[in-house]
Symmetry: C2
Subunit: 129 residues, 2 copies
Amino acid sequence: MFELNLRSRAPVYEQLVEKIKELIINNVLKPDQQLPAVRVLASELTINPNTIQKAYRELEHRGYIYSVPGKGSFVKPAVPGTNNARLQALEKELGKIISEMLYLGVPPQEIINMVKKQLANKEGGKLDD
Amino acid sequence: MFELNLRSRAPVYEQLVEKIKELIINNVLKPDQQLPAVRVLASELTINPNTIQKAYRELEHRGYIYSVPGKGSFVKPAVPGTNNARLQALEKELGKIISEMLYLGVPPQEIINMVKKQLANKEGGKLDD
DNA sequence: TAACTGTATTATTTATGTTAGTACAATAAG
DNA sequence: CTTATTGTACTAACATAAATAATACAGTTA
């Protein structure tokens, strides 16, 4: 499914959260699609099932998946306009990145072009549906 | 100078790195300006000098400050076009944020408007010089 | 019933962050 | 030269978090 960097200073469960979140955001994992079972994924990645469960618990807490005992864990369909807190955090992050780009000497117009280019790429990516 | 969240899961030295980096990027700390001495800042924040030194070491490694034994630690002037690796990382981060905004239902045009608004704010901030 | 799901619990090991205390060389000012 | 500052280095001790290991239990499905 994906790979992990065991040497990284970032905890394994955090890496898992980021990777899976990324797959969900990029629509590689579709809404209501079932995720690998805790034990299965643990076996594939040769890490402890508890670590997977910790990642799944975190993903559920952040609203990206939902788990049903006895059935499995599934991708939670996104409901637009629901996550204003997260959106506000993203806008703040965006501000930090822009500030640092300016600091590194990138002209404002080039930053806008970067964004437009990224948006164009994502639109193209929607053809995955 | 600033405040720290000792209850946060983020290590104190990492918080320090982020805060100081932010002050440098936003030009609150000017190029070649001297930073507080390791022991002084440790005393102000009532934390161990070793923790401050660890943060300073990290900041120096990332290219934001330079330290001279016997003299002090200073803000390193940014040289545009020098940090392509960091710029590439920022562009990647930017992509992630844009992807998540789209995922949350933000229209592309609104994202561009956000960026333009942020850029306008930063231009205004340049009046600090 | 049997084989799967998620979930919970306890104990142990390992890694990292933080503090504490001490020490040394370079710099600047008296 | 002396003194007080600076950054830097080192070891030891402690606290916390991450990760593993080994079970166990309840809900679901065939």
